[in-house]
Structure formats: structure tokens, C-alpha cells
Symmetry: D4
Subunit: 252 residues, 8 copies
């Protein structure tokens, strides 16, 4: 069963023409590729709209390369996060056309034929040191087909820097707000705009920042309601959440 | 300056006809009411689309009642969370037409003339003990004009219960997934659907659940990417985030 | 040795006319009163400018009353914090002219003849629920002879509330900034003013606020530099620190 | 006293023919070898059915080699965990026939004459990054004479991967379920099968995984009852527990 | 489809006569009863050999009673843990023949016709204060058809008390070892016997026991290998794990 | 075997006339009384010089009373800590001559014929609120036959109070230093004297004292070396340690 | 608008001649320089009296150098903390006249024309290992124009060392007290002097010092009231707070 | 004033012939040497019987060497802990006759003329990996003039190893019991002997041992009463405490 057939089936399921027993049976039988050390989830693209993303930490460069090859075998886009240079080298040998962003630590291959996702995500970060996390979010979004606007170093210590860009930020549909240390910026920003704000605590700081716990707790307790939070330094996770929101938007 | 004028100004700001200096000056001069013990933020409705919500814990019944009266003075809807019976009694004396949901612990008054929010939120909870948090989310959403579908007691200990309702859940645009103990359900659910999943850890559990820390950490580390998280037991926060997502959707 | 003699000695010590051996011997021999269960430090007023303050929690009402009587025996002012009504009743029986502030939970007797402290302290709190801590700070300062200006419910969720009072706050010499939940307000405020900011985290919040840990960590990691922090809910401690700063000011 | 004699005594003890005073005196007098820096417990094999296992971390390569030599002196099997290459080199010099598994980090020598343990253990792990812990468990079991079936990369993010192997997993008598990040897989699996599930949290993850705490807490709070847990990354401990269960089985 | 038919199907599945697709489809279609606030998992008995167990905390007495009625409707045994007296009263009104053990806080109804589980579990506890947890384990096991032997107050402070009962303990197939404070007993016991030891930390203690964390960590780090651990105070969980081990034994 | 015979045997063991096998066999066969819910360790007096002490929390009044009766059956002294009034009432019914100290929360019966322990223990506490812990230590020591000198409210906030009593404190052989909040007093005191200092952190404090963790950590990290620490609020444990030191002293 | 104009405006604002709307508009329109990866806050000098300080950790040497160049472009003083040698090298290339203090890890350029700040700060540290933090505080203060007196290795383990310098310390207007391990020195010192004490916990210690948590908690719970605390190892933050206090002093 | 004069004065103070004012004045005027980066406490030997001990971590080799030289200038013994090889090299250049123990990481010079301390300390450790901590304790004691007996690798996993040496251990006057992982050995040992037991948790372990927290908590919660605890890995601190106990013994 190829992708088009499945997409067709999925559409009919949404319209009630196909029972959920049918659709689940179909999905469960979809091949995933067992590489021995990994089972590549080939129908994640169908369930969720984007293929499996490789989290490189804890995997050997060779393992990443083999998983990447399996994912790209049928032309799917590639997104591999937390990749160091040696991993990039290993993937390059198998897939010469991948790109590497060394700030974001992302290996990627964009699907040129993919439909762009309608809407825009603002990636806002409080300090220069938060840039790697911000770029992980921004580059992930771009690989997944989103428009991204970036706002760097707008922490609350100099509030006028944030205030001056709020109108620009407010042009996006979804906001990713990234901060380390006390992590106050997302709460302040969420009080000023109407958009969904996804907060990303970073491990930037020292001492009682406890590797990002201070920022994480601050964001979870935001007095501005409606802020949601992802794991410390998880730029990719925030990107994925923003992308899902935009796609939910596009469906209506 | 009344609401229509401001809405008009806001629209022109979006279209670039009005500078951000103008809009900010306008907003900053909006009256807020200083009750001595509280400053009621009357233009939150303008910035964010819904008036200030009262978090009742730590406030006396009289304080809540006076804030509620201030909010409702010009016909705005009311949403007061974590309210006990004595608070409800105090509010009732000033605003006889409010309603009280004792499971959700919410005092509310719906604005009958408000436009309904387009779209639907699925509120899914893992166990019966999670119901108060689930109802806090669901009732909040209903007060804010959203459609809600409820799915109770579908934790992963009996996976078939969850699998059997996934197709129903997947009809919503946004999913709020609530669980205590190990908090695994949102991760499992997020792997099965394409919608944004907002996870709410609850304090249900004992011993090493540490009042919801176990569930919170589980959700922050979800291997299904794109799950965002709010504070422990924060049903209202999840509702507000879902509502913002739907409104972002409606804007397009 | 009476107070004037000691004040005289202390002055000469500051001027280098008296050796530190002399001053220390003098101080060490000062009587303190041994009540059996407490040793009342009668020369704290000399070392630090204000007599011993009674922290009532963990002491029986009778113990507090006896310590209070010992402190007030020679007309000294009284400040007893974290006092409940039954403690107030016990103290009243021995010292009928004391006053009780039930929000601040402070029993006090002002020394009418004391010189007022020059300068003013701004006590700023983020939410209505932070009021008891704010009043503990404010009332403590007033008992110690300071001028206090109060600013309530100016949290960052509605930034315009804070911005509108910043010029008023900036008229004080020292600022006490009090917040629970994510505790972001002191960092934002400290970025806008030049005064020393003493931040007080409060236990207001729930779930991942962990009884004030989130706010405490946020304040310790403030990206606005120069913020200092006291213990959770420690309004009195902040007041004492502010008072010491003003007195250091007055010395010059 | 040789092994057969002790086994005989142990059997009679089980049958009530020998008093516990007798058996304890016998056991307490068994020689252990004092190497100065270690006391090799030579009758652990009698008490528990397998000789002392060497945990290599914190020991010098020479210390490990000397302990290994002492254990193997009378032909006993060898199992040394958390061994790096230099430790392997040191052991090899004394015991040339040992083997080294570099993924599992185990040095071993199998007792060819040992009776195989009846039954099978399924070693199931959620992600590719969990492989070293899974192999520590699997190789340990194989050295101790058990049959092992391996299931890799079946985390809950792609539930169909897990569901498709549940019937195979359910052929084992005992299941070891290994996961990092949110650690949800063991809870989901335990809800689907009747076998005892021993959960192993791993330190795979970042940020709020806190080196495996998130997975550990998740497993301890599993809503599927009857899941037991071992220390973070403790593949060997899970293997030992599974082996004890199989042996208890074999006794009946 | 009734229970016998399913049992038959299950047996054939084990023997390879029925595919796993068939068995899963059958299982997924089994009715569960939707009570609105709970979905009673009626085929848990088939998957796992014992019906759903009710954890009463966080549920109203009426909710527990209705779930209990649903479980018992077709004669199934009942096990409800953490039940207080008012819950017992509510259940009694619907199911007059249930029993209540006030130390174990368990409401139960034994299935008189159930086959007893072969084998015995030793429930060992370190101190008198651990008795409620020990009884939760022991009574749960008895309701599930196991033989239980109890050993109370055999902590390591008086080692002879433990040594004197080790031979008796060693007659069981599985050992549940329960301790609070430093939680050392399970590690000591596991070093003396060959059986699987399931350790249960209790919240008995004060100060740096942190509600059972000290005992929990102690057990997770046991130097005697092969100890597995359940949540703090989770007597029932240990019972369920022991019961699964015995059943795995019985299958062979 | 009565106590004198055992004392004799113990003496000969110390002198090398009796082997350790003999002494252990003798000790292991000593009766302990199995009350069903408790095993009273009757030869602890022989091993350690004082009979088993009852920790009352988590035990019912009746259980305490029955254990107390068992301990006192042969005239032994009684020490029961953390006892509330209802427990005292229950013990009184069986043992009318026991005494109750309501500050220390200790039920006791002194053995009038016991030899006094040579030496003296100074019990020093930082604040009035630490008195219950100090009295638990002091009364325990008195029941065990030690001389105690008490020093109350000598915390470091008024250093002269501590300095003035250091010479008196230094007359004791062992010092128990008790403090809550930041717990600095034991470190300061240990820098001034040569005696062993046993530090007891108390739960006195609030906010970031975290129930005594701050004081506990402070004491564990004392820059004055040689300070040892017991559990939070564990006055009895400190007393027992001091008593063992004095007895070790007396042996020489 | 140049600095003198702003200073003039600021003064008139203090005197009530200029409205806060005016001053805020003026401030918000001040240029900040957007370097792409950083927004240099050029009017911080106006709001707070000293230009933006660069926290170097997490920034590349080139980023630091570019920010430094931007700050110094108009002759402003430079303060860059946590700078390693390679950062110094990069800054030197652009700004050859900067200095580097390798103990304090500070890159600086003093503004020779700046008015000195009136008053003196005592920087007191408990141990030799605390020196880097003490120097970060002292050098920061000197760059900002303060007089500093240093007191090293005066921890409480040898109280006479501290007592002998108290009179010297008491000549300063503000005290910075730095300690690791148990962190007791600031509490002891604050009990002896009348000045404001800013406590800095350091990460000096091991084991249960938990990277400075023990000292941090000790300082937050100081029984000497009025002690304020900054983040672990945050010498610069303490310096900034002390500087703000002195400036507040100078205003009067 | 030389040492003999002070010893004489101290003795008279003990006998009441000299007032505490006299003795304190004498002590306070004793010279300490100010090296700029350190104040060497030369009369610690008088207050406490042994000169200042150097904790080397966080100090440069040169700083250690200079402090060592200052201590040894008048022939005093030297004890420097946590010393690496480069520190030893630096000290050697100034003091060629010092010794270095690389397992204990101690630099020392014994005072050959010092009177030996009467009594013996048993240093007992649970595992081979605990040896460095055990040697830190043992070597420290030997440098301070104590007799030490060592017992290695007697953890509770093989209880017979511990039981077989208990009679030997019991010949000492004081016991230092060292363990990592779950830290159970000190509790078990303390239940078997009458001597004071000083427990030292070590950082040996992984995962949920959290760098020694598990062992630390276990020891603080020991069900065998009278166990006192020092910081994680603090072999020296335990040695100092044991030495103080022996000296207290010798005084009588």
C-alpha cells in the first residue's frame, strides 16, 4: 500500500466512510523496517504528517546514518537533531545531499515538493546564549515547511527591547518563547499577546539555575495563563508543537 | 474608549495603518480598576479576547466577590477557578446569576451574546480520580465558548479503552490529555494522532508520585514529540492554551 | 551601663578613640536576661539599632508573652511576627497597649520617641494573594520608623499595571518586590529602576510552585542584576534588610 | 566441604532433616578469600546459585583481575559488569579465555557444564539508545544460563511497533522492559500481558529527565499494577531478578 | 463472548493455533462498561488473570461502589485498596457480602470457586509501624488465592530476630520485604536467600526519611543484586508482582 | 540464661577466653518475645547496655503499652519516645509508675538500681523553638543514667550569648548541639571547643528551611571538622550516640 | 539624544516637572544596537547608572568581542564577567586597552572620568577557595567606581580570625559576605554589625554541599535577620546590589 | 606565649583557677598568620589539640604549599587532604620530608614526639570501591597518633563476611563504618556492637545513588539508634570525630 492509497483511506476515515477497525488494521500492518538496533516507523508520516525524526544523542554515527538512509529511501525529508560533526560525516557518506546547521546541530534534507505549511511561527529568545536552542526550533520548523521569524536577545532585563518587537512578534500565529536563567520572558510576552505561547526553558545559567530547572519551574508557574512548556533545551519539541498547531489551523 | 473602538484600532494596527506607538499608548491608558487589594485588568479582554480570570486560592471570599463584581460590571463573562462553597456564597450575594460547578470548583457567568469559538477540544483523562482537573479544563472551555468532548478513564493500564476512543478523540482540533501517577497516556495518545496535545499532570497518586512530579516529568520527557505541558492540576491553564490555539485557527 | 553611655562608647569606637577590645569586652558583659527557655538579647538594640524581634512560630503564647515583657521592660519597641490570635491574647494580658495586625500577623508596640528613619521603602506585590507577606514587610517597616508606600497586584500578566506605577515606585530609596508563582515581577521591575531591589518569593501557587521554590529560584536567577533575595514568605527579613540600607544611608 | 556436599545439605535443610542452626554454622564457616582489598564471597554460589558478580566501576583493573582470578580458581563462571577495555586487558592477562562484550561492557566466562535454566526472558527496550542497558541485561542472563529473546526500539511513540511484537514477548516467562525519557513503555506493556514485568529506567534523555529520574518515577508510579523496578541503567540487576524468578519456577 | 470461550481462544493462541491478529481483534471488541466517570475493564481478568482492582483514593464512596458493582456483576472477585470506612459503607449497601480489613484498608470479596494459586509468598516487615503496608500486601494476596506467611518486626537493629526466621522465610517461593526508615532489611535478607525479593519502602520515619524516599533509594541501590522495588507504601503492587511470579511458575 | 550469666560470658569474651562462635550462639538463642505485631529484643540490653527503646509514632497506644509491658517485665528501665497523651494513658494502665514529660514527649521508668554513667553531656540549643528536641535528648540521657547540663537559646544571631556559656559547655565530655533554620551554631561551637560535637538539625523554620533540610545540610558541611550529625529532630538519636561515647570512655 | 540631555530629563522627572509618559516614550525610543545575535542595551547606563555588563558564558569569544565593541563605542566603561583567556584574546583584538583579571575572570575597561561612588564595600570571604568569587565581586565594584576592602579566610571554624577583623569590616557601608560549605559566616557576621549584609553562597565543598545548595539554604534561613542572598557563585550580582545601595545612599 | 604556657593556662582554666574572660582574651590575641589569601589558625592546636588541616580542593598547589609551610614552621605535624600529585610536588619543594599516600590522597608529616592517643579506631568499609574514603580516614587517624584496625569489603550482600569480623571490630573503642550504594552496613553493624559508630556515606554507586545521597539518607535514618553521620566521602571528618572521642576518653 503506497502513500497515496493511505492518504485516501485516511480522508475517508475522517469523513466517516471507513470504520476505525479498518483504518487501524491498515495502519498496524504497515511495514516498519527492523534494522536490528532500530525499528524505523515508516507510517509516522501518515499518522502525523512528518516522518520519524532522529534524536542523535546516544546513537552511534553509523546507527544514525542507517536510520537516515531508511527514512530517506522513498524520498521523505530528513530531520536529525542533536547531531555532532562526526554524525554528520557518517550520514553524508550515505546521503551526500543532506545539510548541516552547526549552531542548531541539525542534519536535514528538505522535501522540495512538500506543500508549505500556512502561517508563521515567531521564535523569540531572551539572550544570546539561548541561540542554539532557538536555532534548533527555527531550523526544525523550516525543514518542516514553516515560515519563521526570529527575535534574539529580548530578555526582560531591558524591557524596551522586548516591547519594541512585540508588534512584529504578534504577526505570527504561534510563538515559541525561549529563555534560561529565571525564564521570565515567556510570562511577560504571553501577557501582551493573544497567540499561543510555547515556552522553552534553557540550561543557560549557573548555580541555582540547576541546569534549567529554575526556568522550567518559572514557566510552569507563569502567572500569564495559557503558556505551555516543553523540556529544557527542547527546541525541536517546541517546533513540533507549533507545527501541529499550524496544521490544525490549516485543516479548518 | 469602548470595545468596538478598540477592536477597530486593533484591526487597523494589524493592517499596518496604525503605528505600534499609537496602539501601545492607547492600551496603556486604558483604565484598570484599583480595588486597593487588587487591580482589575479591564483591557485583558482586548489584548487576549477574554477578561481576567480569578484564581480564588489565597483570596478571601469577599475579595473574590469584589473582583468578580468589577469584572462583570459591564456585562463581561466571569470565570473564577479553585473556588470553594463559601466563595461561591460570597459571589452570589453580589452577582445572583452566577453558576457553580462543584466538581470543577468553578464559578462562572457565560456571556450569552459572545460568538462561539469555532472548533472543538477533546478533554481526555486517564482515571476517575483525575475528573476534577478534567472538569476544570472542560468547564473553563465551555465558559469561554468552546465545544468540548469528554473521554474519562482511558489510562494505559487497559489500552483497549484508549484505542477504542482514539477515532472519536481525533475529531477534535486540540487535545487536552490529563493523567496522574506515571502520566503515560498523553505520550501514547500523541503517538497516535496528529493534533496538538496539551498534557496536564495531576497530583493523583502517592509515594513516589511526589504530588504530581512523576507525571510532570514523564510528560516533559515524552518520547512522542510535540507534547506541551502545563502545571500540575492546572486544568484551567490547559483550557486557556487550547482556546488560544482555536482562536489562532479562527483568525486565518 | 545605660543606653546613652553605650551609644557614646559606640560613637567613639567609630571615631577610633576606643579600641575594639574595649568595645567587645563592654558588649560581651552586657546583661542578657535568661528566662530559662530564652535568652533575651538586650543589647541587640545597641549593635543593630532595633531590639530583638520575636518570631512566634514554635513558641507557646506564654513564652512569647514573657519574652515580649522582657523586651519592653525598659520602654523598647516591640515587634513580634507570625503571631496568631491566641498569642496576641497572651501578650495583651501582660502588655495591654500592644497592637495586632491580623493580615500581617504582627504584634507591635511603637516607640513614640524614636527618631524616624529618613527615606522611604516601596513595598510592591504581584498579586492579591501575596498581601499577607507584603503587609508583614510593610508593618514591620512602619514599626521600625520607616515610611512605606504600597503597590498591590502589579504582576507581569498585565504589564501595564506595573508600568503605570513604576514612576511612583521609583520615588522610594529601596524597593521590596514580592511575588509567588513564577516570581518574575522583581526581575522586570529591577530592569526598569536604579534602586536596590530586595525580592521576596511567596508560597502562593500550587503544583510545580513547590511552596515557593519556583519563585525563589526565579529570583535567584534574575537576569536583571543586583536583585537580592530573602527566604520564602519572609516579609520581615526583607523589611529588616531595607531598614538597614536606609540606616546606612542616614549615617553618611 | 565441596559443592555437592553443600547442595546435599541444603536439600536436606529444605526437607526439614537438618536444623537451621546446622546450616547456618556450616555456611558461616565457609571460606571466603581475603585479598586485602576485597573478600571474595565463595559460597554465594551456594546461597544463591551463582558466584559473586564483579561490579567494576571504582575498582582498578588489577583489583578486578585479582578478584576474577579468585572467583574462577575452581572453575566457577565469571560475570563482571561495567568493565572498560583496560579492565578487560588486565583480566585477560590472568584469565585468557574470558570474553568481552563491548556494548554490554561485560567480561564473562560461561560454565559450559552448568545446567541451563528452564524458561525464557524477553528483554524489551524502548529506543536504540537504550541498547547498552538492554545488552547488559541480556548478556548477563545468557552467562547465567537463560534463554533470551530481544526486542529493540519498541517505544510508545509508534505504538504499532510494540503491539506487533506483544505476542512474541508474551511467549517468555519473565519480561524485562527498559526505557529512558518518560519511561512509559513498561506500564503499557504490563497492561497487555500477564507475565511479571521488571522495569529498568535508563539515563537516556536530557533536561528534565534528570539522568533517569523521570523514567524511574514513571515506572514506580505505573498505573499497570505489578510492575517492579530496579535502579537506573541497572540491566544486570534486572537480569538477576529475572533469573531468580525462573529458578523459583524451576524449583516447583 | 463469555469467559470460557475467551479462555479457550487464549489457550489456542498460546499453542499457536490462532493468529495474534485474531486474538487482538477479539480482545479489542470485548465490552468494557462505561459508567460515565469510569470505564470498567471487564477483560482484564482475561489478559491478566484477575479483574480490575479499585484504588479508592481520589474516588467518592459512591463511585467506588458503582465500580465495585460493575466488577462483581458476573460473580468476579473484588479487591478495593486504600478504602476508608465510609467507602466500605457505600460498597456494603450495594454488595452486602463484601468484607473489610481495617488494618489493610481493603474491601474484598473472594471468589470461592477460584483455583488456588500454587506456591507461597512470605510477607516480611521490618517494624510494627510497617504493618498496614504488610497487611495490604498479605490480604491482597489472600484475596487473589495465594498462601501467605507473615513475619513482623524483624528489622536489622536486632539482627538475631531476622536470622532466626530466615529458614522459615526461605520456604516461600517469593518474598515481599517491607521496611521504612533506612530500608536496609530487604538488602540484608536478599543476601541470605535465593528467592526473588520484592522490596516495598514505607513512609515510616521522619525528618530525612522524606516520606519514604530514604527507604526507596536504599532499596534501589541494594548491594544485594536482584532486589526489585515498588512504590512507597505500595503493598498491593508488591502483592500483584508476587502473584504474577507465582502464576508464571504455575504455567510451566 | 539470666543477665548475670550473660554479663559474665561477655566479659570472658572480651578477655579472649571465649570464642566468638560461642558468644554468638549464646546470643542468637536468647529469647525474644513475639507479640505478633512486634518482636521485643530482650537481649539488646546485653549487646548495647540499654533495653530496646520504643519509637511510638506509627504504633497504636495499645501496641506501645504491650511492648512496654514486655520490656519492663523483668524490671528493665523504659524509654518510649514521640509519645502523645493517649499513648501515655494506655501505658499507664499497664505500668502505673511510668512518668511522662510532655515537652520531650517521653514516657519513661528509670531503673533506680542502675549504675550512673560517668561523665556529663551538654545539651545546647540555638532557639526556644528547638526546646522539644533538646528535651528529647536531655530526658533520654537522664533516663539512661547520664548527667546533663542544658543551654537554651544561644544561637549565633547574638553571639555573646553563646560565647558567655562556652566555658560552662566545655566542662562536659560530649556536646549535643541543636539548631534549626540555618543550623550554624554547631559549626561555630565546634570551632571553639575540643569535645566531640553531635549536631541535631531541627525542623524549626519555614520556606527554604524545607522542614530541616537547610540545617541538616549546613551541619553535614560544617567547616569545623569533626562534627557528626543525626536525623532531623532526632534528639533521642543524639542522646544515644552521646551515651555510647561516655560508655566507651568508662570502659577505659 | 545624548547622555547629558537624558540626564537632564531624568532629573526633571525626579522633580516632577516631566510626566512619566514623556520619560517612558523617551526611553523606549533610545537606540539599542541590534547585532543580530544580541541587542546591546545602550540606555541601561541611563536607567541604572552603568552600561550593560556582559556575562560571557555561553557566548562565543567573537560574540563577546562584538558586544564589547558596541558598548565601548562611545567611551563607556566595560565589564565582562566569567571570561576565559580566549575570550580575553578576542576582545583584545578589538579593544586593545582592556584589562583581564584572571582570578576574577573579568575583562574590564575603567571610565577614568567617571565620578567615584561615595562609600566603601567590605568583601569578606570565609575560605581561600572562595577567592575567585570574592574577586569577581571586588573587581566588579572597583570597575564601577567603588572603594573595596578585602577580608579573606575568616570562616567560623576559627572564630577569632573573624572577630579580630569585625571592627575593620564595620567601617564599610555595605558588606558582601561570601562562603561555601555550610555558609555560616554571613549569619554570624550579620549578628555582629549593623550594616546591610549581602550573602553569596559558593560552590566550594563536596558531597552534601550539592554545588552550593547547602550554603544557599543556610544563608536564606539565616537566624540573623536582614541578610539578603544572591545566586551561588554570583560575586558580580552581589557587587551590583552593593553598588546600587551606595548609589541610593549618595542620592540623599 | 609558647605552647607550654598556654597548656598550663588551659589546665588552670579547667580547674577553675582562671576566669573565662582571661582565657578568651589570651586566646583571641594569639597570632594567626595572614598570608593574604589565607589566615593560618596557629592556635587551633591549642583549642582542639591538632593544628589546622588543609583541605586542598579549590586551592592552587602554591597556596597549599605556603599554608603548609606556615603550619610546619614551628615543627607542628601536617595533614593535607584531597591532595593531587601536583599539590604534593609543590609542597615537597618547600617541605622535603612530607609523605604522600596516593590512595588516601593525603600529604602528611607526623610529629614524632607527639604522645600517642590511647585507644583504637576500627575503620570498616563495605566494598572495595570505598577504599579511598576508608584510607582517608585511616591515614588521617594515624597522622593524628591513633591506632587503626582496617576491615575491607564486609558489605551486607554477604553477611557472613561481616559477622566473622564483628568480634575483631568490637575490640576498638570507636568504629568508623563506610559504605556507598544503599549504605546499610553501618546500621547492621551498630545493631551488633555497643561502641559509637560514625557512618560515612560514599559516592560509590550510580543512578539513584545520586552521588551518595541514597547512602547518606540511609545512614541518617538508621533503625539502629546512636549512629552519627558525616558528609559524603568525608573520611577525614569521621577521623576527626573519632579522634575527639578518644581524646575525651583519655581526659577522664
Amino acid at each position: 500500500m503506497d502513500i497515496n492509497a493511505l492518504e485516501n483511506l485516511l480522508t475517508r476515515f475522517k469523513e466517516g466512510e471507513v470504520s476505525h477497525e479498518t483504518i487501524f488494521e491498515a495502519l498496524r500492518k504497515l511495514p516498519f523496517e527492523d534494522l536490528g538496533f532500530a525499528r524505523v516507523d515508516h507510517h509516522r508520516a501518515l499518522r502525523q504528517g512528518f516522518p520519524e525524526v532522529i534524536y542523535c544523542e546516544g546513537k552511534t554515527p553509523l546507527q544514525v546514518a542507517q536510520i537516515a538512509q531508511s527514512i530517506c529511501a522513498d524520498g521523505a525529508p530528513l530531520l536529525a537533531t542533536r547531531a555532532d560533526k562526526s554524525t554528520f560525516a557518517a550520514v553524508c557518506q550515505m546521503l551526500p545531499d543532506v545539510e548541516y546547521d552547526k549552531v542548531a546541530r541539525i542534519i536535514s534534507r528538505v522535501d522540495e515538493n512538500a506543500k508549505p505549511v500556512i502561517g508563521e511561527v515567531a521564535v523569540v529568545c531572551a539572550g544570546t546564549s539561548d541561540l542554539p536552542v532557538a536555532e534548533e526550533a527555527a531550523v526544525s520548523l523550516e525543514v518542516m515547511g514553516c515560515n519563521v521569524s526570529r527575535f534574539v536577545d529580548v530578555g526582560v532585563a531591558g524591557l524596551q527591547r522586548l516591547l519594541s518587537v512585540v508588534p512584529e512578534i504578534a504577526k505570527a500565529q504561534v510563538i515559541i518563547a525561549i529563555a534560561g536563567m529565571e525564564g521570565a520572558m515567556p510570562a511577560v510576552l504571553a501577557g501582551l499577546v493573544a497567540q499561543p505561547v510555547i515556552a522553552v526553558p534553557t540550561s543557560v545559567g549557573y548555580g541555582a539555575s540547576f541546569g534549567g530547572i529554575a526556568a522550567l519551574l518559572g514557566m510552569l508557574n507563569s502567572c500569564s495563563s495559557g503558556v505551555t512548556v516543553v523540556n529544557i533545551d527542547n527546541g525541536f519539541g517546541a517546533a513540533m508543537a507549533a507545527w501541529k498547531i499550524l496544521r490544525a489551523t490549516n485543516f479548518n
